[in-house]
């Protein structure tokens, strides 16, 4: 099998879908001739032209709003926002419009929209370029939220996102863009709401979201050498959330750790932990543990950022905290 990077895999997924469906439009800042600030849309402009791969002015609210207009008029739209922090300028279209139009218009429209936006945590981009805001989004009924952690998943999930007749926020990870993975020659899709067990184990369940996955797997390998067998679960989509796979794992291990680069308070980790408590309280050996960013703004200084974000040692410590 051939290998592609995570960024190339997303690119290939978009390219295949744009070949299948001539109605699809890509829009965003620098997505056209330049190929995207991180190169994810490279070559699409050359293949599909300026009408379908549209360089936009710096206006996030209008980019997503315009993408919604395209979508409800029958043209699936893929909008790119260069950093997840920039979704703040587009919060009205992302939260008030795209996920609600179908409902409050009684089903008269569908909104085939993908908002692609990357998480940059851990790369020294500083306070306004390093946030992971999925918790804000999963709070909104009508939105789907995807957080792929491998090249293989990224390709299969972006294709599903583009085919979905509903609004999807596709949260990529800049730290993973150059990560390589095996990609089948033939096309494939990955359904939403289906978690992937990245590593099987019997002692502790470690649920890890998006960009933290490589560190979660590293923590699991190091713990294996200490005789602790960690099961690492990647929900892949946080809305819809495959809670069944997580609950089944916890019923086996009795221990739950949830890790994400988003801040701890009000994070998706709290939601997953609570759902497990409601479903599998009697199976738990102790309270679920969250490993997440400290509740402080993310500093640019490497020393300070590293102290803010969750790391391998933190996940190992959390997994060991259940041992007597």
């Amino acid at each position: 099998m051939r290998e592609l990077t995570y960024a190339q895999a997303i690119n290939e997924g978009i390219r295949e879908e744009m070949r299948h469906n001539g109605k699809i439009v890509v829009l965003g800042e620098d997505v056209g001739k330049y190929g995207g600030v991180f190169g994810v849309t490279r070559g699409l402009y050359d293949e599909f032209g300026a009408a379908r791969v549209r360089d936009c002015p710096l206006n996030e609210a209008a980019i997503v709003g315009c993408a919604i207009g395209l979508a409800i008029a029958g043209r699936p739209a893929i909008a790119e926002l260069e950093f997840m922090d920039f979704t703040t300028f587009a919060m009205d279209p992302i939260t008030n419009q795209a996920p609600k139009l179908r409902f409050f218009w009684g089903g008269q429209v569908s909104v085939p929209l993908v908002v692609r936006t990357p998480i940059a945590a851990g790369l020294g981009f500083g306070t306004q370029h390093s946030q992971s805001l999925e918790a804000w989004l999963v709070h909104v009924p009508g939105l789907k939220v995807v957080m792929p952690s491998t090249a293989y998943d990224a390709k299969g999930l972006i294709k599903t996102a583009i085919r979905d007749p509903n609004p999807v926020v596709f949260a990529e990870s800049i730290s993973l863009y150059s990560a390589r993975g095996e990609i089948p020659d033939e096309e494939y899709v990955i359904p939403f709401g289906k978690a992937d067990i990245k590593r099987k184990g019997d002692d502790v369940t470690l649920v890890a979201l998006g960009p933290i996955m490589p560190k979660a797997l590293q923590a699991a390998e190091e713990l294996a050498q200490q005789g602790v067998d960690v099961e690492v679960i990647d929900p892949r989509t946080v809305a819809p959330l495959d809670i069944d796979t997580i609950v089944n794992s916890v019923k086996k291990t009795g221990r739950l750790v949830v890790a994400h680069v988003a801040h701890k308070t009000g994070g998706v980790g709290a939601e997953i932990a609570q759902q497990v408590v409601e479903r599998a309280f009697d199976s738990l050996d102790g309270p679920p543990v969250r490993v997440a960013a400290a509740d402080v703004p993310i500093a640019a200084s490497q020393r300070l950022e590293q102290a803010t974000l969750p790391d391998v040692a933190g996940m190992m410590k959390a997994c060991l905290s259940f041992r007597q």
Partner: protein, 318 residues
């Protein structure tokens, strides 16, 4: 392009439908038949009709929470609207939308939107789809003077002009954003002047004058269909006595009845009579019939059932 006598009479009829619809909406709110609020379009009828008369059935209209007028002008069904207002299962949105979220896509009314200016960029996207599809259709987007202060309005002005989108941006300047008068909110005397900074035509007309609105809209539609891009059309008007059923806002006190001095409906009626298109008796009959349509719609809405609770979980995902 001139309108036939029949088309002008239909515009006159729809003006009365809007007026009576809004009076019924206010009355039904007072009777406690629905909750929330309603934002009457009274005194602005000539603007919606003037613009929609310049459109084809395949063109699209988007409007704000003060959007009942645009809906009726584009041909939406008053019965389904009234039922929607009352939150009934027979409403055009199954009762889920209410006063501020009406829509009827089959007549090209792509709905009301309750986030001020939130729909302007969406209208740009609909216009972009029309441009890419090459159908020759255009989009008209109604919004108020208040919305013209929101950032996304300017973002859309820039992008729509840059891309030459087939779009009419119709700003209905009714002088007040709830209580704030335009003189306290807007730095230019005419909102159409905003167009100068973006490189598109900006036109101001008397929004209570059907003919003036229609003439300006016709030019803007022709320009859009030619592929020359958007137009910012400002329709100046005077707001009805309140912002909404809930908020009085400005224009209260002795100013409350000011709109009646320039009421667009008697003015249009007089025009049609002078042109020999309409006789007094026929005008009175049209008004009576419109009132009956709305009375029937209200009775239909009151008699309609509320939605089943299962509807809570439908229409979220396609």
């Amino acid at each position: 392009m001139t309108l036939s006598a029949e088309q002008q009479i239909e515009a006159f009829r729809r003006m009365w439908l809007i007026r009576y619809f809004e009076e019924a909406a206010i009355r039904l709110y007072g009777e406690g038949r629905y909750r929330g609020s309603t934002h009457p379009y009274i005194a602005q009828e000539a603007t919606a009709l003037g613009v929609c008369a310049a459109l084809q059935s395949t063109d699209v209209v988007l409007a704000t929470y003060r959007g009942h007028g645009a809906a009726i002008a584009k041909g939406a069904d008053p019965k389904a609207m009234m039922a929607e207002l009352l939150g009934k299962a027979t409403g055009m949105c199954k009762g889920k939308g209410g006063s501020m979220h009406m829509s009827q896509t089959e007549v090209g009314f792509l709905g009301c939107n309750a986030i001020v200016a939130g729909h302007i960029a969406i209208a740009g996207g609909v216009a972009l789809a029309q441009q890419l599809d090459g159908t020759g259709a255009v989009t008209a987007c109604f919004f108020g003077d208040g919305a013209s202060c929101e950032g996304v309005f300017y973002e859309t002005l820039n992008m729509a002009t840059l891309w030459k989108l087939p779009l009419l941006l119709v700003v209905e300047n009714n002088e007040y954003a709830i209580s704030t008068h335009v003189s306290d909110a807007i730095s230019v005397p005419d909102i159409s002047m905003r167009a100068q900074g973006f490189g598109l035509p900006g036109v101001t007309v008397d929004g209570r004058d059907f003919d003036a609105v229609y003439a300006a809209a016709t030019q803007a539609v022709a320009r859009a269909r030619r592929g020359d891009g958007p137009t910012l059309l400002e329709a100046k008007t005077v707001r009805w006595s309140r912002h909404s059923a809930v908020a009085a806002g400005g224009a209260g006190g002795e100013k409350a009845d000011r709109w009646k001095l320039t009421d667009p409906i008697p003015r249009f009626r007089q025009e049609l009579i002078q042109r020999g298109i309409l006789a007094e008796a026929r005008a009175a009959e049209i008004e009576r019939d419109a009132r009956q349509v709305i009375d029937d719609a209200a009775a239909y809405a009151i008699d309609s059932p509320y939605p089943a609770l299962e509807e809570l979980h439908t229409d979220i995902f396609a």
